[in-house]
Symmetry: C2
Subunit: 300 residues, 2 copies
């Protein structure tokens, strides 16, 4: 798994997504067009793709509204859906994708296989990794290539994701203290990913608070320490909220460039740091026994 | 403040919202019609109204999609906006409301006064309480009356919110243990409100995890205890997720009827329990010194 993170650049997809302009499903025609609203469905390591695309859509002012669906259900009646499921068999994502198709919303899948690959909707197939969460580069860049194909959005594609030992060590120290991860809403995908990696790899439970909302409630009960996220690329209102938080609550600040390169480089280090915390806690970063136990207890 | 919670029913609005079919703002005509998408903007004690309306729209299958805006910014280009600001002077909400109007999205305000009341958009004026968070019944029912007026949705309007001392004591005990509040996405407004009341009244910091997403990451790091929320009114998939969580992580289950009456009755007890925790911790439940400090440090 550490090897996956250390060589994450090999998972970055280099070729544009090959998508039809329209497709047939159940006797109905679905047009893939520049919808104003983009649903991105997915859970866990696949679901964070929606959060990251939402962050970028805000920071880069992309011409669509991202609605992240981490559930069986959603309320929308029109738009476009990207359904991300590493295994292709995630119950929530498959249910949400079927619901979309019933409502006439075109679905495009990102998966390694499973039921999603056989559903009959256009698919971008991605290579496997040691675990779904280690496959972030291929799922993320698959989604970006889909967005370039449909909306013409521009993005950078890194050749290398340079390793910075000091950053990995700083993250390891800061996350070991079971902090609250505090980020502005334009970086909430980064914050959720940090929490999720700490949960799954290190088996610890830091929480997340999003600014400016956290300044209206959490701040009164906050004890610290915090891991605060900021970026040169976010609105000044968001930067100021992060600065003010660190004036009141002790913690460490991490600066992330909100580019594909910056996001993947930072999250590579988060992966490495949380694997190292697992090692120092004598837990296996790769195994997720409670998630497996839940799957056994859910109806198949 | 305890007196406010104990007599919360007196804040329930009994009369329909008086709204025009259209209005003029800055030389432009805004039509108030049954938009597919409803933005509900607001922060903190006012912002939770959007979460609760979103919960009800899922549980009651109301014919619109709620998008909660707890920020200065949002990406939508069409729809309808309800802007909730107890004071009428919340910077984020005013910025979001102006952004909506620039994009041709009609705004309806809910406030006690301030700049929002003088903006020139239709307003439902609500009476003051001891604190913004104590004014939940009037903000919530103001939003419901607006939705009845526009979409014709039905809701119950309680005469009394019966006090159950055992429930208040159970909540006080469970929240004192600084738990993780775990709820299905159809009850996320209830979960956020529990956390926010613990933050502002009791000055403690429980975190929130939403199902089914939390079964894909948090569960691996979860230590407990948890405060789990369920309801007879939510989808079976959500009920099962709550049950499975309690099989793996120790905690207390609270059952909430997802009606106006059920929500207000439960949240009244949450208010009382968090005031009592404040008293036992020797902190003032009414004062929010860090929030006041932040306001001083922000540009006016």
């Amino acid at each position: 798994m550490l090897d996956d993170y250390m060589n994450w650049e090999r998972y970055i997809l280099k070729t544009p997504a090959d998508l039809p302009d329209r497709y047939n499903y159940g006797g109905r025609v679905y047009e893939i067009s520049q919808a104003e609203r983009l649903y991105v469905a997915g859970m866990g390591g696949s679901g964070v793709i929606g959060d990251l695309i939402r962050d970028l859509s805000m920071v880069r002012d992309w011409p669509f509204e991202v609605i992240v669906v981490k559930d069986y259900f959603f309320k929308g009646k029109s738009g476009l859906m990207i359904a991300v499921s590493y295994s292709g068999n995630t119950a929530e994502t498959l249910t949400a994708a079927r619901l979309a198709l019933e409502r006439g919303i075109p679905v495009i899948g990102i998966t390694t296989g499973g039921k999603l690959a056989e559903m009959g909707v256009p698919i971008v197939k991605i290579p496997k990794a040691s675990a779904p969460r280690a496959a972030l580069p291929q799922m993320f860049t698959a989604a970006l290539w889909i967005l370039r194909r449909i909306y013409g959005v521009a993005f950078d594609l890194p050749e290398v994701l340079p390793y910075d030992q000091k950053l990995a060590e700083r993250l390891e120290r800061a996350l070991s203290a079971r902090p609250t991860v505090v980020a502005p809403s334009s970086m909430q995908g980064i914050a959720y990913r940090v929490k999720n990696e700490a949960n799954e790899n290190a088996k610890i439970d830091p929480s997340v608070e999003i600014l400016p909302e956290a300044h209206h409630n959490w701040i009164e009960g906050a004890r610290g320490p915090i891991v605060a996220l900021t970026s040169p690329d976010i609105p000044p209102e968001h930067k100021l909220r992060v600065e003010l938080t660190l004036q009141l609550i002790p913690g460490e600040l991490f600066d992330v460039s909100m580019t594909v390169s910056g996001i993947l480089t930072f999250l590579k280090h988060v992966g490495i740091a949380t694997v190292r915390i697992a090692e120092s806690r004598n837990v296996d970063p790769l195994k997720t026994p409670r998630i497996e136990e839940l799957k056994r207890r859910l109806p198949q």
